[in-house]
């Protein structure tokens, strides 16, 4: 039972209300939502206040405790009037997504447990998206896509983004690419719903104001048969981000800041709720980047309240009615963190952990041998636009091999057709070509997670630069593999070679680094 006139407020009871200037939302119906904005208070004292624990209900004087967004979504999905963190509830699943790596295993379990002739619980609620190991000659990888196809044919699955011609992705009209970006682009992410996926970055969809999290094959097999899953309601950590976003910062910097703050286990079993004027100013793709790396902090799910930006994005993409939910005024949060975004600087996560945070400018002596721009985290249209902006500002060529892997077919087409602002009509692809980057590759997860040995841009050995005068240096650095990447993880071996060193960064920082051959703060080019 979602409250139909919930007001979202991030002014938790214990915060001096004068310091809090955040938007309030009101919602009467799913399609006509007015967003009321309060003036942003400029009086933010520090970049990050220490975490504060929630006041006990007795001191608030409230009779009925409000629920956070996450709690409300799970309450609605489990047909309960209310739930509290710690409750175990059986939840109805709105969408289940799987891909080529975990799909076959999930299907195997489904058939074993429910019978070889069993039918999935709802042929329209399953979205099957091959994306991980596609453009490879690895026979098992190819076979796995075939397994998905056979299953979809047998079950008459409505949404199967198939690929048959591996030599030319454009010859496959149904093929999309990276599952999390495809889910959003195809309108499968809707406010208030429960979306599960056999992939840890399923939390990306929380950007749409829904509960989205990753599960394993066995749980997915269970959902395939029943359409339900047992979930424990997580407590919520609230991240309030205010201040004007500097033009050298992107959502990737914000989430690296947060993960660096709370560590890779700081949000384990918890929901991460992102609010504040800065969050409201983010586009959908930027919000997706923010929620995407929630799992890197151990988080169960990430969530951002839906607003006009969300509804505008969904316009024309989905005809399924949805009902957004918002955190109550008296909702209880485990902890609240506040940021003045205007004070933040471009960041990297150094090898070998996403929480190994450092200022990009402090890593300027780190020589790199490649740059990778791609993945669900940093391979969306706006990510490429951002990289193009830096190359445009510089006008020079890259000093290291720069790999570009658009997340989906649509992103690839945008890279080739959308004009970059301020570029006199040039597209991203033209700017990339002039800067000497590699040709944008076929859309997929690519080398973000290594993959079969023939995966494009996989870190196998040191990259030989095609600039002659660097060849000698490259021979000396034959075992030197350092990549700046817009992806989401940098644990040992993540992109292939175990000794490979990966610096996670925003597309701005990645492009700037490509131009210098060292880890570089994008302000070198953007200011």
């Amino acid at each position: 039972m979602a409250s139909s006139s919930a007001i979202a407020s991030s002014s938790a009871p214990f915060i001096n209300k004068k310091d809090v200037g955040l938007s309030a939302f009101s919602s009467q119906s799913s399609f006509s939502v007015q967003t009321a904005r309060k003036r942003i208070s400029k009086k933010i004292v520090s970049v990050m206040t220490p975490q504060q624990t929630q006041r006990t209900p007795a001191t608030t004087g409230s009779v009925k405790t409000g629920m956070t967004m996450t709690e409300k979504i799970l309450a609605k999905a489990s047909d309960k009037p209310e739930v509290s963190p710690g409750d175990n509830v059986w939840v109805n699943v709105d969408v289940l997504m799987t891909h080529d790596v975990c799909g076959p295993g999930s299907i195997g379990i489904f058939k074993k447990e429910f019978g070889q002739n069993a039918k999935v619980w709802d042929r329209e609620k399953l979205v099957i998206i091959p994306d991980h190991y596609i453009f490879t000659s690895d026979e098992r990888a190819n076979r796995n896509v075939d397994i998905l196809r056979d299953f979809c044919t047998e079950q008459n699955i409505k949404y199967f983004y198939d690929i048959k011609d591996l030599g030319n992705f454009r010859a496959n009209p149904d093929y999309k690419g990276v599952c999390h970006v495809a889910l959003a682009q195809e309108g499968h992410c809707r406010p208030g719903e429960v979306l599960l996926g056999t992939d840890s970055h399923t939390c990306t969809a929380g950007a749409f104001g829904q509960f989205a999290t990753g599960i394993g094959n066995t749980d997915a097999g269970f959902v395939l048969g029943t359409g339900k899953i047992l979930l424990k309601v997580p407590p919520t950590l609230r991240f309030v981000m205010d201040g004007e976003m500097p033009d050298y910062l992107l959502a990737k910097d914000l989430i690296l800041q947060i993960i660096g703050e709370i560590s890779v286990a700081g949000a384990t079993y918890k929901a991460m709720e992102f609010v504040g004027s800065t969050v409201e100013s983010l586009t959908m793709e930027e919000r997706m980047t923010l929620c995407n790396m929630v799992v890197e902090a151990g988080g169960k799910n990430g969530v951002i309240p839906a607003d006009k930006t969300t509804y505008d994005y969904l316009e024309g993409r989905t005809s399924v009615p949805y009902e957004p939910v918002y955190s109550d005024e008296g909702a209880r949060y485990l902890k609240e963190y506040r940021f003045d975004v205007s004070k933040l600087e471009p960041l990297v996560a150094k090898p070998h952990s996403p929480d190994n945070r450092a200022l990009a400018r402090e890593c300027k002596d780190v020589k790199i041998d490649r740059v990778y721009i791609g993945s669900c985290t940093g391979g969306k249209t706006e990510d490429f636009m951002a990289a193009a902006k830096v190359f445009l500002a510089s006008g020079k060529k890259v000093k290291v091999p720069t790999f570009l892997v658009p997340a989906t077919q649509k992103v690839w087409m945008d890279v080739y057709s959308l004009p970059v602002p301020g570029a006199g009509g040039k597209t991203c692809s033209q700017i990339f070509e002039e800067a000497g980057c590699d040709t944008p590759a076929s859309p997929s997860c690519g080398a973000c997670l290594g993959g079969p040995k023939d995966t494009y841009a996989r870190m196998n050995e040191a990259q030989a630069s095609y600039y002659l005068f660097y060849r000698i240096i490259d021979l000396l650095l034959i075992f030197y593999r350092v990549c700046v990447s817009t992806t989401n993880r940098n644990f040992p071996g993540r992109m292939g070679h175990k000794e490979g060193q990966i610096y996670l960064a925003s597309p701005y920082t990645a492009a700037a680094s490509a131009l210098t051959g060292y880890v570089t703060d994008p302000r070198e080019f953007l200011q």
Binding site: I109, D199, S200, T226, T268, G450, F491
Partner: protein, 252 residues
């Protein structure tokens, strides 16, 4: 004790909820009965204890015979392999092996041969010898946030296929913990102190469920473990489906 409590509560707090009826008349879906039980009585109390089986064997998937040991008398004895903090799924099973499908028996076995091969060269001892499919180490001892990273079920599966009976870590990432229980492949046990700093790869250890303790015979030290609670019977049964059938949640 969030990790083990997570599943332990999940088993005890079922409420009846009707399964959505499905239109297809050919639907062979067994009905899922979610028992209404008092939260004071965990499901396992409905079963009488079975005779103790002193043979120590690692638990396998549901395909294995029904276990003869009860939760209270299960022990595991063997060599331990020690790793550090934040052992992520890429180290447990590198992504290039994810083309192997765990529900395929041959590929399940192959996954075992690659278990923990993603560990960097700072780990001088290999977990599984080249050419072998199982490891001589049946207990993995870890630090914080074991299993972080991907949701890939291949991670606990690879460990289970390699012969690991239990992981004893300071804390777990949630998807790994959940997958371990749902598949029944390994027992994810939690220690109360940093055992990974006091044990060495190759130490002979015993893990006792009933006493919730780990004994390191090589050093002579004992350590308290957090009880696995109701997640135990799920793993013992062979995973969530086997458990659901055993307890009558899914009719056979």
């Amino acid at each position: 004790m969030a990790a083990s409590a997570a599943l332990s509560n999940s088993i005890t707090a079922f409420k009846p909820s009707p399964c959505q009826p499905r239109a297809a008349s050919i639907n062979p879906l067994p009905s899922i009965k979610l028992p209404s039980i008092s939260s004071n009585y965990p499901l396992i109390s409905h079963f009488a204890p079975t005779p103790k089986n002193p043979t120590i064997t690692p638990l396998r998937s549901a395909a294995a015979a029904a276990p003869e040991t009860t939760n209270s008398s299960t022990t595991f004895h063997g060599l331990c392999y020690v790793v550090g903090d934040n052992i992520d799924t890429d180290q447990i099973i590198p992504a290039e092996y994810l083309t192997l499908v765990p529900s395929n028996p041959d590929e399940y076995k192959k996954l075992g041969s690659y278990a923990l091969c993603g560990l960097p060269s700072s780990y001088p001892t290999r977990f599984v010898e080249p050419g072998e499919f199982t490891s001589k180490y049946s207990i993995v001892i870890g630090g914080d946030n074991f299993g972080c990273g991907s949701s890939r079920e291949h991670a606990p599966v690879a460990l289970g296929a390699a012969g690991v009976a239990a992981v004893v870590a300071e804390s777990y990432a949630r998807i790994f913990f959940r997958n371990s229980v749902s598949t029944g492949e390994v027992y994810p046990l939690e220690s109360e102190v940093r055992i990974c700093e006091e044990c060495k790869t190759g130490d002979v250890v015993t893990v006792e469920f009933g006493e919730s303790r780990l004994i390191n015979h090589t050093t002579g030290k004992e350590y308290k473990l957090k009880p696995i609670g109701d997640a135990g019977p799920v793993i013992e049964a062979g995973g969530i489906f086997a458990y659901a059938r055993k307890t009558g949640m899914i009719s056979n």
